[in-house]
C-alpha cells in the first residue's frame, strides 16, 4: 500500500513538473498536480515508515494490523468516504447542470481556465472533505 501511494505520488508529481516545464505558457496552474503528487507520495512514505517500525517487533506489527481493522477506524473512514462521495456527486451535478445551461446560452460556457479550476476544485474539495471528516470524527467519536 505504501509503495503504491509512493509510486503513484511520484508519477503524478513528475507529470505535474513535466507539464509545467513543457506547457508552462498555458494559463493553468500545474502546481496543483505536482502538489497532489507530493501529498500522495507523503502518504506513501508515512505508510512505509509505520510498516518498517512494525517489522522491528511482533507486538507493534500486531497492533498495526489491529488498528487497520479496528471497527471505529473503519467507521470513521466509511463516514468520511460517504461525505466525500456526496460532495463529489454534488459538484459533478453542478458541473453537469452548468454545462446544460451553457449549451442553450443561459450561462457562460465552461472552457479554458474556468473548466480547469472547476475540475481542480472537483478533485481537491472532496479530498479536503475526506481529510476533515476523518479528523473531526477522530475527535468526536
Amino acid at each position: 500500500m505504501g509503495w503504491l501511494f509512493l509510486v503513484a505520488g511520484a508519477f503524478v508529481a513528475l507529470v505535474g513538473i513535466f507539464t509545467e516545464l513543457q506547457y508552462g505558457y498555458l494559463p493553468y496552474n500545474f502546481r496543483i498536480i505536482t502538489g497532489l503528487g507530493i501529498l500522495l507520495a507523503g502518504i506513501g512514505v508515512g505508510h512505509l515508515v509505520r510498516y518498517k517500525a512494525a517489522l522491528k517487533d511482533e507486538q507493534s506489527a500486531r497492533r498495526l494490523t489491529v488498528e487497520e481493522r479496528d471497527e471505529r477506524t473503519v467507521l470513521i473512514r466509511a463516514r468520511a468516504g460517504n461525505r466525500a462521495y456526496w460532495v463529489s456527486a454534488t459538484l459533478i451535478y453542478i458541473g453537469l447542470m452548468w454545462a446544460s445551461f451553457a449549451a442553450n446560452g443561459s450561462l457562460p460556457a465552461l472552457t479554458g481556465n474556468t473548466l480547469w479550476f472547476f475540475l481542480a476544485v472537483g478533485v481537491l474539495i472532496p479530498f479536503g472533505v475526506y481529510i476533515t471528516s476523518v479528523l473531526v470524527d477522530q475527535r468526536n467519536l
Binding site: 500486531r62 497492533r63 489491529v66 471497527e71 471505529r72 477506524t73 477522530q138 468526536n140 467519536l141
Partner: protein
C-alpha cells in the same frame, strides 16, 4: 448508551492498551467507549462482555430516551 467498561477494566487491573489488545481493537476505541462517545458493534460488545464473564446488559446500559435525543 452508558457502560461500565472502565469500572470492570480497573477492577481487573488492566490498562486501556491491555484491554484493547485482548479484544483486538485500538486503544483509542477503548478510550472512546469508556467516555461514551462511541457505541460498539454487537460483536465487540459480545467480546467485551465475554472477556469480563458478563452478560452484555451487565456491561452496557441501554437508555431508550438517549436514542430519541440523538
Amino acid at each position: 448508551m452508558k457502560n461500565q467498561l472502565e469500572e470492570f477494566r480497573v477492577r481487573n487491573g488492566w490498562t486501556q492498551q491491555e484491554l484493547a489488545d485482548r479484544v483486538e481493537v485500538s486503544r483509542q476505541t477503548i478510550i472512546s467507549l469508556e467516555s461514551g462517545r462511541y457505541n460498539p458493534s454487537i460483536l465487540l460488545a459480545f467480546r467485551l462482555a465475554r472477556l469480563f464473564k458478563l452478560q452484555i446488559e451487565d456491561l452496557f446500559l441501554y437508555a431508550e430516551e438517549e436514542e430519541h435525543h440523538g
